[in-house]
């Protein structure tokens, strides 16, 4: 009988894994189980250009290639459990899917604030298409919008909402926006640029409670200050969608721990044959940096991990002679990220967040620039605003080429 693969999570990571299985010659059945009703779509535009215009599935959908024409999409019905012994995934509706190969691609969902007066309309998160459609209708000119969280997504939403004519305040416990990946110098400069576009900041503060009866009318900060608002966007951090793995012995303490072949690893440190992880959930050690296993929530990772899993898993299922050799190859994808805020094109490579030192390598702090990040005097990341060609030189250096 021919082998079958079940992929849990119908987003970018799941799609790329399905494509890569086919590209590597796997001909058995591939079923993708998705919690959302939508076919895979691209998330980054949901806080940027698509949120600024009109949010539709068409505007963000990934094109489905002919390779994945015969993939079965089981959408709108999340996986609720898996039995790794009998190799069966069960979904919310009670359907059971047998597999020979399993790909874990269920990603993240936003964490929301737990507040005494929390049950009010006007609260938003931005992870899914449906989230963005709901948010878009509330971002009307003049609306008072509070963005909680000053990471990339929070800052992008703040910039987009300003562009739509909203009054925007950003509240975050961090000391500067995007400080963790970028360091204080660049983060302070980006705060200045946001302020010059009219965003106010309340940094170093948390939200204590909301004001309003059924719908939001404001909120109270931990220092007692109250702010008016009809829209609250929570972009504070994420939860891993691993509840459906709770009855397994996999290490799901933070995402899903994997070995360098992206096979899931148990709490005892054993790799599980036939079970793989892709995308935001995969926690793996990257030899470009060190031996610490980390999750990387950047857009290039679903593609890199999907391709890797497609190659290794198809070799495993077909009992190819080169399976062991393929699985033992090092996996060292260079993290890459970008962010559009106002007219700024921010682009980064590597892990600048791990740096112990950084320096302005090119350009000017107040204009286009390249910032280089070092750990123990070794280049570990680069971030540019504009200056693409210069940024690319450092990218090459990071790859050691």
């Amino acid at each position: 009988m021919s082998k079958s693969v079940v992929i849990v999570g119908a987003s970018m990571g799941g799609l790329r894994a399905a494509e890569a299985l086919r590209n590597n010659g796997f001909e058995g059945q591939v079923t993708v189980i998705g919690a959302e009703v939508h076919a895979p779509y691209n998330r980054p535009p949901l806080s940027k250009e698509v949120l600024a215009k009109e949010v539709t599935h068409d505007a963000v959908a990934f094109k489905l290639r002919t390779q994945v024409e015969d993939v079965i999409w089981h959408l709108g019905d999340p996986a609720t459990s898996v039995d790794l012994e009998t190799q069966v995934v069960t979904t919310n509706s009670g359907k059971a899917f047998d597999y020979d190969g399993l790909v874990i691609a269920s990603g993240l969902r936003p964490r929301t604030l737990e507040l005494p007066n929390g049950k009010l309309s006007g609260r938003h998160t931005v992870r899914t298409l449906d989230d963005a459609i709901r948010l878009r209708t509330d971002l009307v000119p003049g609306a008072r919008v509070i963005v909680a969280g000053a990471g990339f997504i929070g800052c992008e939403v703040a910039a987009t909402a300003r562009g739509l004519g909203c009054e925007v305040t950003n509240v975050a416990i961090d000391s500067f926006p995007m400080i963790r990946p970028l360091g204080e110098k660049l983060a302070a400069e980006l705060q200045r640029r946001h302020e010059s576009h009219g965003v106010s900041f309340r940094l170093g503060h948390g939200i204590k409670d909301l004001i309003g009866k059924d719908s939001l009318s404001g909120l109270i900060l931990d220092d007692g200050e109250s702010l008016e608002a009809t829209v609250l966007v929570e972009a504070i951090s994420s939860h891993c969608n691993v509840e459906w793995l709770a009855n397994t012995n996999l290490d799901i303490s933070n995402g899903v721990l994997t070995d360098s072949a992206l096979r899931a690893v148990t709490t005892e440190g054993q790799s599980v044959e036939g079970v793989y992880v892709v995308g935001d959930l995969a926690r793996f050690a990257n030899p470009l940096f060190d031996d610490d296993a980390r999750r990387i929530e950047h857009w290039n990772i679903p593609t890199e991990t999907g391709k890797r899993v497609g190659a290794v898993l198809s070799a495993y299922l077909e009992q190819a002679d080169n399976f062991a050799e393929l699985a033992a190859l090092p996996f060292a994808p260079l993290p890459s990220f970008w962010s559009d805020q106002y007219d700024m094109k921010i682009q980064g490579f590597g892990m600048p967040g791990l740096a112990d030192r950084y320096e302005l390598a090119d350009g000017e702090l107040s204009g286009e620039l390249v910032m280089a990040y070092f750990r123990n005097d070794v280049l570990i990341g680069v971030v540019g605003i504009g200056m693409t060609s210069e940024v690319m030189k450092y990218r090459k250096q990071l790859l050691g080429t």
């Binding site: 590209n23 980054p44 857009w299 970008w338 559009d340 094109k345 682009q347 693409t388 060609s389 690319m392």
Partner: protein, 63 residues
């Protein structure tokens, strides 16, 4: 032959495509994307990789 299309309204000149298929995509002196619109069938897999890595999902292969 394959035909390559880049939606220049979407393209933000990030240059990710350049790494995947430098013979087809390039950034000019002003950091703007330039590309050749047709390529040999043998280049399909690299062009598909370029499609995959484009943050704006601006590249398509016209079938």
């Amino acid at each position: 032959m394959i035909t390559i299309d880049v939606d220049m309204d979407k393209c933000q000149h990030y240059g990710q495509c350049v790494f995947e298929a430098p013979d087809i995509f390039a950034l000019n002196d002003n950091d703007k994307l330039e590309f050749v619109a047709t390529a040999n069938d043998s280049r399909r897999s690299d062009v598909e990789s370029a499609v995959d890595v484009c943050p704006m999902q601006a590249i398509s292969i016209v079938e």
